[in-house]
């Protein structure tokens, strides 16, 4: 990812190179995979912070929270897929 950032910022050709590379189907799939992991981690992490604040710490709340996290993550991951393709 850092190499991509480096290449895309160093020169116009580098930027085009990164753009080309990211438009291939395999690269899109990899980006989608990485993005999915990041989004799920982000949503679950926000749930952690919410629980740190004392919300949803009961057994029932915990079960509900985990379901909410899964639903939101699936929706975001699907949206990310739409965005990429």
């Amino acid at each position: 990812m850092l190499y991509g950032l480096d290449l895309s910022l160093t020169s116009e050709e580098g930027f085009a190179q990164v753009k080309d590379c990211l438009s291939s189907p395999v690269a899109k799939l990899i980006i989608w995979g990485l993005l999915s992991a990041l989004l799920y981690h982000l949503v679950a992490g926000i749930r952690h912070l919410v629980m740190d604040a004392g919300v949803g710490e009961s057994l029932e709340g915990g079960k509900l929270g985990s379901k909410i996290v899964l639903v939101i993550s699936v929706v975001l991951i699907l949206l990310a897929g739409v965005w990429i393709w």
Partner: protein
């Protein structure tokens, strides 16, 4: 007896805080970056470069990179001390665990320095 010296701050409470502070920074950074990329569909090289030429973006990115290092260290420390144990690996566990942690630490340092070079090299 103190048997654990590899955690980030030698205090679980401080590690806990470092993990959360870095998490908030990373959350803000990625939400911002997603927002930027989604609102600029036909992104050109000039737009992209202009974004990273601004000082606040360089500082924000560097802060995010520092936060990745901290967040990853706390996370990898948790994983290595949970799973690379004498119960799982036998008597060489400490050596293996230390080497894995050293590798992670090196990687984070290299990525951080490389990031500084990219951000202030353009």
């Amino acid at each position: 007896m103190v048997t654990n010296v590899t955690n980030f701050s030698r205090s679980g409470l401080y590690d806990w805080m470092a993990q959360r502070v870095s998490a908030v920074v990373l959350g803000a950074f990625f939400i911002f970056l997603f927002g930027y990329l989604i609102s600029h569909p036909g992104l050109t090289y000039n737009d992209w470069r202009a974004l990273f030429e601004q000082n606040w973006m360089r500082i924000f990115t560097l802060l995010a990179l520092l936060s990745v290092s901290i967040h990853a260290w706390v996370g990898m420390w948790t994983i290595t001390t949970d799973y690379l144990t004498p119960m799982a690996l036998g008597k060489w566990a400490t050596v293996v665990r230390f080497l894995v942690q050293a590798f992670c630490g090196m990687l984070m340092f290299v990525l951080f320095v490389w990031g500084v070079q990219i951000l202030w090299g353009i």
